[in-house]
């Protein structure tokens, strides 16, 4: 399947009415180096802008909706991600053969791989994301902390890279327990080990080094002090190639299980306006310090005191971007494409405001009754909720096969309301309508959270979900 369905005469220049600087390029055809719901999301944004789309797919995804919906599709290899979606040479061949002039990496896979961004640009195409230098600056977590500290962005008290467990123990005495061992090349919680005392630290150090080595080929680790009762609050930023940077406010992402986000919302509940402003300012400083372009996210730990600390920057689109879209009215994927083409931001900070409340519920193929074991299978029946205030960003349809090769995210249900309470109500209704058969999902957990009085009061921290799961259901 390689033909282009669309009439070439219908190819539109990207937003032709904007004044065009000499550095601007026209996007005609975008290759999406990803799969599932995010590939479909990028296809929608491209359609809205009159840009053609090229899907790439593994053997396991040959029948997936995103492959059918793109204007063209190229097979890139066997099902395991390392042979397909992480296979940069195969993607570069598809880029050349498809005649695409840009690559959108989505999230995960090669989205934060600086060498891939360089290779795309070396091939003469646009990488829809930041400069490779910004990806590199933020990819090394220990170096990123140093950079942020220099830029005046608060970071959790911590250490530089540590040579051995003895050095870690000595450093922890100064920092004070509890501490977290973290992999410098880490992400997604891999290689992170919380330690309450020296014995745990000695064991945790060895385990973190081993995991980091196995997962990233880099066993470098450092320590951070653990902040008790902290929330995960992140700031969305956007920057153009002409020096303009704005933030699009925060997302509350504390409801997590094993470092995997489950529910996100905007605005963050119970956030003092002064703290929101300070976090936004810090995010802008961070973006300027590394010459950031395109959209990105600064993740912060927010302590109960209102103090906040830089955790990491995601130099790509976030899974949870829809809650920002629904509270600011900005289409972040269209914005990514426009910025990548060299267009000016066209947004001033004063133009931006948060309106209403949006919540994202991540639907995972996991079986809550069996300790959240992955649940691959065939989706035999599927009913999505619908309505003006419900958005479903899904990678699957009825009849889809959910394979064991990729992450378990099936869909994101995004709901909105004028108030947080109204949005929670819509979320409950959406879950009542939702029906998925053939694979087990975490929908019962999502419903449990939306019915929980502490969640309703906005009393969340990064430990909220593990504590809820320890409680007897009743």
């Amino acid at each position: 399947m390689c033909g282009y369905a669309r009439d070439p005469a219908r190819r539109l220049a990207l937003r032709p009415r904007a004044p065009r600087a000499t550095s601007q390029r026209v996007l005609r055809r975008v290759l999406i180096a990803n799969r599932g719901e995010i590939a479909r999301r990028v296809i929608r944004a491209c359609r809205d802008l009159g840009v053609e789309t090229v899907a790439v797919y593994s053997e396991a995804d040959a029948g997936a909706p995103f492959v059918r919906e793109a204007d063209a599709a190229f097979p890139i290899g066997p099902s395991p991600a390392r042979d397909s979606y992480l296979n940069a040479p195969a993607l570069l061949v598809a880029l050349k053969e498809s005649g695409a002039d840009a690559v959108h990496p989505g999230y995960g896979f090669l989205s934060e791989n600086a060498a891939f961004a360089d290779a795309v640009r070396d091939a003469g195409a646009i990488f829809v994301g930041p400069p490779a230098s910004a990806i590199r600056a933020m990819g090394d977590k220990a170096a990123a902390r140093r950079l942020m500290r220099e830029a005046g962005v608060p970071v959790t008290p911590g250490t530089g890279l540590l040579g051995d467990a003895d050095a870690a123990v000595a450093a922890a005495e100064t920092l004070g327990y509890p501490v977290m061992v973290k992999a410098s090349a880490g992400g997604g919680g891999i290689g992170m080990v919380p330690c309450e005392d020296e014995a745990q630290l000695r064991r945790g150090f060895a385990s973190a080094v081993g995991r980091a080595q196995a997962s990233f080929g880099n066993g470098a680790v450092y320590l951070e002090r653990l902040v008790h009762g902290a929330r995960h609050v992140e700031i969305q930023i956007a920057a153009d190639a002409h020096g303009a940077v704005v933030h699009l406010f925060e997302r509350e992402c504390s409801v997590q299980r094993r470092h995997q986000k489950v529910i996100e919302e905007a605005p963050a509940p119970n956030l003092a306006p002064a703290v929101r402003d300070a976090m936004g300012d810090a995010a802008l400083r961070a973006a300027r310090a590394i010459g950031y372009r395109n959209v990105g996210t600064l993740e912060f730990l927010l302590a109960p005191s209102g103090e906040f600390y830089f955790m990491e920057m995601n130099t790509r689109l976030q899974v949870e971007h829809p809650v920002t879209e629904w509270t600011t009215g900005v289409d972040l994927v269209q914005l990514q494409l426009r910025l990548a083409a060299g267009e000016p931001l066209g947004l001033a900070q004063a133009d931006l405001a948060q309106t209403g409340h949006a919540i994202e519920l991540r639907l995972y193929a996991e079986d809550p009754a069996r300790g959240f074991l992955p649940s691959p299978g065939e989706v035999t029946r599927l009913v999505w909720p619908s309505g003006a205030d419900v958005r479903v960003d899904a990678g699957i349809e009825q009849g889809s096969k959910v394979t064991p090769f990729y992450d378990p995210l099936l869909a994101k249900l995004i709901v909105r309301g004028e108030t947080r309470e109204a949005a929670i109500g819509r979320g409950r209704e959406a879950l009542r309508t939702l029906s998925v058969e053939g694979v087990k999902t975490n929908a019962p957990l999502l419903a449990r959270v939306l019915a929980d009085p502490a969640f309703f009061r906005g009393e969340v921290s990064i430990h909220y979900l593990s504590r809820l799961l320890e409680q007897k259901q009743g």
Partner: protein, 71 residues
């Protein structure tokens, strides 16, 4: 009496921690499976001698497949 160790999920074999002939105790991790980017340890259901490992690292497996035999 021999005890079969079965896969709880569909996925692949990520890492084999024990070899045929090893003595294992109940709860020891024999191998680690991978599915949907999650690692799922397979523990020995009983103590005894691992008489057989029936899979290889990287191999795809279906839920219910016999991975190893104890005794």
């Amino acid at each position: 009496m021999a005890t079969s160790v079965e896969a709880q999920i569909t996925g692949s074999v990520w890492k084999i921690e024990k070899a045929a002939g090893d003595e294992v105790r109940e709860g020891d991790v024999i191998m680690i499976l991978e599915s949907m980017k999650m690692e799922i340890p397979v523990e020995a259901p009983v103590s005894g001698r691992l008489s057989e490992i029936r899979v290889a690292e990287g191999q795809s497996i279906d839920e219910g497949a016999v991975l190893a035999v104890i005794g």
